[in-house]
Amino acid sequence: MVSLSDYLILSSVIFCIGLVGIFVNRTNIITLLMCVELILAAVNTNFIAFSHFLGNEAGQIFVFFILTVAAAEVAIGLAILTLLFRVRGSIDVDVTNSLKG
Protein backbone atom coordinates (compact mmCIF):
# COMPACT_ATOMS: atom_id res chain seq x y z
CA MET A 1 0.00 0.00 0.00
CA VAL A 2 1.13 3.54 -0.68
CA SER A 3 1.07 5.63 2.45
CA LEU A 4 0.01 9.25 2.80
CA SER A 5 3.60 10.06 3.60
CA ASP A 6 4.71 8.79 0.17
CA TYR A 7 2.31 11.12 -1.60
CA LEU A 8 3.34 14.08 0.56
CA ILE A 9 7.03 13.47 -0.01
CA LEU A 10 6.45 13.19 -3.75
CA SER A 11 4.63 16.51 -3.76
CA SER A 12 7.30 18.15 -1.62
CA VAL A 13 9.93 17.02 -4.14
CA ILE A 14 7.87 18.56 -6.95
CA PHE A 15 7.42 21.71 -4.85
CA CYS A 16 11.18 21.99 -4.42
CA ILE A 17 11.82 21.36 -8.13
CA GLY A 18 9.45 24.26 -8.79
CA LEU A 19 11.37 26.49 -6.35
CA VAL A 20 14.72 25.52 -7.87
CA GLY A 21 13.26 26.22 -11.29
CA ILE A 22 12.37 29.73 -10.19
CA PHE A 23 15.85 30.14 -8.83
CA VAL A 24 17.69 29.07 -11.99
CA ASN A 25 15.25 30.59 -14.48
CA ARG A 26 15.10 34.03 -12.94
CA THR A 27 15.36 35.79 -16.26
CA ASN A 28 13.10 33.58 -18.35
CA ILE A 29 9.58 34.70 -17.52
CA ILE A 30 7.80 31.96 -19.48
CA THR A 31 9.65 29.17 -17.70
CA LEU A 32 9.14 31.03 -14.44
CA LEU A 33 5.38 30.95 -14.93
CA MET A 34 5.59 27.24 -15.66
CA CYS A 35 7.50 26.69 -12.42
CA VAL A 36 4.67 28.41 -10.57
CA GLU A 37 2.29 25.93 -12.23
CA LEU A 38 4.49 23.11 -10.99
CA ILE A 39 4.32 24.47 -7.44
CA LEU A 40 0.54 24.63 -7.67
CA ALA A 41 0.43 21.04 -8.95
CA ALA A 42 2.39 19.99 -5.87
CA VAL A 43 0.02 21.88 -3.58
CA ASN A 44 -2.96 20.30 -5.32
CA THR A 45 -1.52 16.83 -4.87
CA ASN A 46 -1.15 17.60 -1.18
CA PHE A 47 -4.77 18.64 -0.88
CA ILE A 48 -6.06 15.62 -2.79
CA ALA A 49 -3.93 13.17 -0.82
CA PHE A 50 -5.14 14.62 2.46
CA SER A 51 -8.70 14.63 1.19
CA HIS A 52 -8.45 10.94 0.26
CA PHE A 53 -6.91 9.84 3.52
CA LEU A 54 -9.13 12.03 5.73
CA GLY A 55 -12.25 10.96 3.85
CA ASN A 56 -13.63 14.49 3.41
CA GLU A 57 -14.13 16.36 0.19
CA ALA A 58 -13.06 19.83 1.30
CA GLY A 59 -9.57 19.26 -0.09
CA GLN A 60 -10.85 18.32 -3.52
CA ILE A 61 -13.14 21.35 -3.55
CA PHE A 62 -10.14 23.52 -2.67
CA VAL A 63 -8.22 22.08 -5.62
CA PHE A 64 -11.14 22.82 -7.91
CA PHE A 65 -10.82 26.49 -6.99
CA ILE A 66 -7.05 26.54 -7.20
CA LEU A 67 -7.32 25.27 -10.77
CA THR A 68 -9.79 28.05 -11.58
CA VAL A 69 -7.60 30.74 -10.06
CA ALA A 70 -4.51 29.41 -11.78
CA ALA A 71 -6.21 29.48 -15.16
CA ALA A 72 -7.29 33.10 -14.63
CA GLU A 73 -3.81 33.96 -13.38
CA VAL A 74 -2.14 32.49 -16.45
CA ALA A 75 -4.44 34.51 -18.71
CA ILE A 76 -3.45 37.75 -16.97
CA GLY A 77 0.21 36.81 -16.73
CA LEU A 78 0.49 36.06 -20.43
CA ALA A 79 -1.42 39.28 -21.23
CA ILE A 80 1.14 41.30 -19.26
CA LEU A 81 3.94 39.36 -20.95
CA THR A 82 2.57 40.15 -24.40
CA LEU A 83 2.32 43.78 -23.39
CA LEU A 84 5.93 43.83 -22.23
CA PHE A 85 7.02 42.29 -25.50
CA ARG A 86 5.10 44.97 -27.37
CA VAL A 87 6.66 47.82 -25.36
CA ARG A 88 10.19 46.52 -25.13
CA GLY A 89 10.63 44.06 -27.97
CA SER A 90 11.89 41.37 -25.61
CA ILE A 91 10.72 39.74 -22.41
CA ASP A 92 13.99 39.44 -20.57
CA VAL A 93 13.46 40.85 -17.11
CA ASP A 94 15.22 39.83 -13.96
CA VAL A 95 12.24 39.78 -11.60
CA THR A 96 14.24 39.40 -8.44
CA ASN A 97 16.59 42.30 -8.91
CA SER A 98 15.96 45.30 -6.78
CA LEU A 99 19.41 46.73 -6.89
CA LYS A 100 18.55 50.30 -7.68
CA GLY A 101 19.06 51.12 -4.01
Binding site: S5, F15, G21, V24, N28, M34, E37, N44, T45, I48
Partner: protein, 203 residues
Protein backbone atom coordinates in the same frame (compact mmCIF):
# COMPACT_ATOMS: atom_id res chain seq x y z
CA UNK B 1 5.32 -4.78 -3.65
CA UNK B 2 1.69 -4.47 -4.65
CA UNK B 3 0.47 -3.29 -8.03
CA UNK B 4 -0.60 0.05 -6.57
CA UNK B 5 2.92 0.71 -5.40
CA UNK B 6 4.42 -0.24 -8.74
CA UNK B 7 2.08 2.18 -10.51
CA UNK B 8 2.82 4.90 -7.97
CA UNK B 9 6.57 4.64 -8.32
CA UNK B 10 6.36 4.42 -12.09
CA UNK B 11 4.29 7.62 -12.25
CA UNK B 12 6.46 9.36 -9.66
CA UNK B 13 9.55 8.60 -11.69
CA UNK B 14 8.07 10.17 -14.81
CA UNK B 15 6.72 13.12 -12.86
CA UNK B 16 10.06 13.96 -11.28
CA UNK B 17 12.04 13.29 -14.45
CA UNK B 18 9.85 15.45 -16.67
CA UNK B 19 9.71 18.25 -14.07
CA UNK B 20 13.49 18.30 -13.89
CA UNK B 21 13.70 18.27 -17.67
CA UNK B 22 11.28 21.19 -17.74
CA UNK B 23 13.24 23.48 -15.44
CA UNK B 24 16.56 22.74 -17.15
CA UNK B 25 15.26 22.92 -20.69
CA UNK B 26 16.77 25.76 -22.68
CA UNK B 27 13.93 25.87 -25.13
CA UNK B 28 10.66 27.27 -23.83
CA UNK B 29 8.49 25.28 -26.22
CA UNK B 30 10.15 22.02 -25.14
CA UNK B 31 9.70 23.05 -21.52
CA UNK B 32 5.96 23.34 -22.11
CA UNK B 33 5.85 19.82 -23.53
CA UNK B 34 7.74 18.46 -20.52
CA UNK B 35 5.26 20.23 -18.28
CA UNK B 36 2.44 18.53 -20.17
CA UNK B 37 4.05 15.17 -19.39
CA UNK B 38 4.28 16.20 -15.73
CA UNK B 39 0.63 17.10 -15.68
CA UNK B 40 -0.33 13.75 -17.20
CA UNK B 41 1.60 11.98 -14.45
CA UNK B 42 0.06 14.19 -11.78
CA UNK B 43 -3.41 13.48 -13.14
CA UNK B 44 -2.75 9.75 -13.05
CA UNK B 45 -1.61 10.01 -9.46
CA UNK B 46 -4.81 11.86 -8.64
CA UNK B 47 -6.77 8.96 -10.12
CA UNK B 48 -4.89 6.65 -7.73
CA UNK B 49 -6.26 8.94 -5.01
CA UNK B 50 -9.82 8.58 -6.36
CA UNK B 51 -10.11 12.19 -7.50
CA UNK B 52 -11.31 11.30 -10.96
CA UNK B 53 -13.11 14.55 -11.70
CA UNK B 54 -10.11 16.73 -10.89
CA UNK B 55 -7.78 14.46 -12.82
CA UNK B 56 -9.90 14.83 -15.93
CA UNK B 57 -10.25 18.58 -15.36
CA UNK B 58 -6.50 18.88 -15.09
CA UNK B 59 -6.06 17.22 -18.46
CA UNK B 60 -8.87 19.11 -20.16
CA UNK B 61 -8.31 22.56 -18.66
CA UNK B 62 -4.60 22.53 -18.08
CA UNK B 63 -3.20 20.52 -20.90
CA UNK B 64 -6.01 21.36 -23.27
CA UNK B 65 -6.27 25.09 -22.68
CA UNK B 66 -3.61 26.61 -20.43
CA UNK B 67 -0.61 24.79 -21.87
CA UNK B 68 -1.79 25.46 -25.39
CA UNK B 69 -2.09 29.12 -24.45
CA UNK B 70 1.54 29.00 -23.29
CA UNK B 71 2.62 27.42 -26.56
CA UNK B 72 0.60 29.95 -28.48
CA UNK B 73 2.27 32.91 -26.76
CA UNK B 74 5.73 31.38 -27.16
CA UNK B 75 5.25 30.84 -30.86
CA UNK B 76 3.49 34.17 -31.40
CA UNK B 77 6.24 36.20 -29.75
CA UNK B 78 8.93 33.86 -31.07
CA UNK B 79 10.70 33.60 -27.73
CA UNK B 80 11.70 29.95 -27.69
CA UNK B 81 15.22 30.73 -26.72
CA UNK B 82 15.97 33.20 -24.01
CA UNK B 83 18.97 35.43 -24.51
CA UNK B 84 19.70 35.91 -20.85
CA UNK B 85 20.97 32.40 -20.11
CA UNK B 86 24.52 33.37 -19.21
CA UNK B 87 23.97 33.49 -15.46
CA UNK B 88 22.36 30.06 -15.51
CA UNK B 89 25.36 27.99 -14.50
CA UNK B 90 26.54 30.24 -11.70
CA UNK B 91 23.43 29.80 -9.63
CA UNK B 92 22.94 26.12 -10.25
CA UNK B 93 25.18 24.44 -7.61
CA UNK B 94 23.99 26.70 -4.82
CA UNK B 95 20.36 26.20 -5.81
CA UNK B 96 20.71 22.44 -5.93
CA UNK B 97 22.37 22.26 -2.54
CA UNK B 98 19.67 24.41 -0.94
CA UNK B 99 16.95 22.35 -2.62
CA UNK B 100 18.43 19.04 -1.46
CA UNK B 101 18.60 20.32 2.11
CA UNK B 102 14.99 21.50 1.94
CA UNK B 103 13.84 18.17 0.47
CA UNK B 104 15.67 16.24 3.19
CA UNK B 105 14.03 18.38 5.87
CA UNK B 106 10.61 18.00 4.33
CA UNK B 107 11.08 14.22 4.18
CA UNK B 108 11.80 14.22 7.89
CA UNK B 109 8.72 16.30 8.66
CA UNK B 110 6.41 14.43 6.32
CA UNK B 111 7.89 10.98 6.92
CA UNK B 112 6.33 7.77 8.21
CA UNK B 113 6.31 8.92 11.83
CA UNK B 114 3.81 11.62 10.93
CA UNK B 115 1.84 10.20 8.04
CA UNK B 116 2.77 6.52 7.82
CA UNK B 117 0.16 3.82 7.25
CA UNK B 118 -0.07 3.04 10.96
CA UNK B 119 -0.95 6.66 11.74
CA UNK B 120 -3.15 7.31 8.71
CA UNK B 121 -4.45 3.97 7.43
CA UNK B 122 -5.44 3.90 3.77
CA UNK B 123 -9.21 4.27 3.47
CA UNK B 124 -11.29 1.54 1.88
CA UNK B 125 -11.76 1.96 -1.87
CA UNK B 126 -15.18 3.18 -2.98
CA UNK B 127 -17.44 0.76 -4.80
CA UNK B 128 -18.22 0.93 -8.50
CA UNK B 129 -21.45 2.85 -7.84
CA UNK B 130 -19.58 5.78 -6.27
CA UNK B 131 -19.51 8.94 -8.34
CA UNK B 132 -16.85 11.46 -7.54
CA UNK B 133 -18.53 14.13 -9.68
CA UNK B 134 -21.90 13.80 -7.89
CA UNK B 135 -20.18 14.00 -4.55
CA UNK B 136 -18.30 17.20 -5.45
CA UNK B 137 -21.25 18.80 -7.22
CA UNK B 138 -23.55 18.29 -4.24
CA UNK B 139 -21.14 20.23 -2.05
CA UNK B 140 -20.16 22.79 -4.64
CA UNK B 141 -23.67 24.11 -5.06
CA UNK B 142 -24.61 24.04 -1.37
CA UNK B 143 -21.81 24.27 1.16
CA UNK B 144 -19.40 26.01 -1.18
CA UNK B 145 -21.78 28.21 -3.12
CA UNK B 146 -20.05 31.38 -1.87
CA UNK B 147 -16.59 30.42 -3.11
CA UNK B 148 -18.25 29.28 -6.32
CA UNK B 149 -19.61 32.79 -6.89
CA UNK B 150 -16.20 34.25 -6.08
CA UNK B 151 -14.65 32.03 -8.73
CA UNK B 152 -17.07 33.58 -11.19
CA UNK B 153 -15.80 37.03 -10.18
CA UNK B 154 -12.23 35.86 -10.74
CA UNK B 155 -13.01 34.72 -14.24
CA UNK B 156 -14.72 38.04 -14.92
CA UNK B 157 -11.53 39.81 -13.84
CA UNK B 158 -9.49 37.60 -16.14
CA UNK B 159 -11.72 38.57 -19.07
CA UNK B 160 -11.63 42.29 -18.27
CA UNK B 161 -7.88 42.19 -17.69
CA UNK B 162 -7.02 40.34 -20.88
CA UNK B 163 -9.15 42.64 -23.00
CA UNK B 164 -8.05 45.85 -21.25
CA UNK B 165 -4.39 45.04 -21.54
CA UNK B 166 -3.97 43.51 -24.96
CA UNK B 167 -6.84 44.86 -27.04
CA UNK B 168 -5.67 47.39 -29.63
CA UNK B 169 -7.98 50.18 -30.63
CA UNK B 170 -8.84 50.43 -34.32
CA UNK B 171 -5.34 49.98 -35.63
CA UNK B 172 -5.14 47.83 -38.77
CA UNK B 173 -8.71 46.80 -38.28
CA UNK B 174 -11.59 47.18 -40.73
CA UNK B 175 -15.03 47.08 -39.20
CA UNK B 176 -18.51 46.76 -40.57
CA UNK B 177 -20.93 49.47 -39.60
CA UNK B 178 -24.12 47.52 -39.52
CA UNK B 179 -26.47 50.41 -38.85
CA UNK B 180 -25.12 52.25 -41.89
CA UNK B 181 -25.50 49.17 -44.01
CA UNK B 182 -29.11 48.71 -42.98
CA UNK B 183 -30.07 52.33 -43.31
CA UNK B 184 -28.57 52.81 -46.69
CA UNK B 185 -31.04 53.84 -49.45
CA UNK B 186 -30.76 53.26 -53.13
CA UNK B 187 -30.29 56.94 -53.83
CA UNK B 188 -27.14 57.04 -51.63
CA UNK B 189 -25.45 54.48 -53.76
CA UNK B 190 -26.77 54.93 -57.27
CA UNK B 191 -27.04 58.20 -59.03
CA UNK B 192 -29.22 58.14 -62.12
CA UNK B 193 -27.84 60.51 -64.64
CA UNK B 194 -29.74 61.16 -67.76
CA UNK B 195 -27.33 61.22 -70.62
CA UNK B 196 -28.40 62.39 -73.95
CA UNK B 197 -27.04 60.16 -76.59
CA UNK B 198 -24.47 61.96 -78.75
CA UNK B 199 -25.35 59.89 -81.78
CA UNK B 200 -28.87 61.41 -81.85
CA UNK B 201 -27.51 64.96 -81.80
CA UNK B 202 -25.31 64.31 -84.73
CA UNK B 203 -28.21 63.36 -86.87
Amino acid sequence: MGSEQIIFYFLSFWLIASSLAMIFSRNAAKAVLFLVLSFFSVASIWILLEAEFLAITLILVYVGAVMVLFLFVIKMLNIDKSTLRAKFAGYLPLGLIVALIIIAEMMLVLGNAQFGLDVMPAPARHGADYSNITELALQLYTTYVYPFELAAVLLLIAIIAAITLVHKKEINRKQQSISEQVNVRAKDRIRIVSITSPSKENK
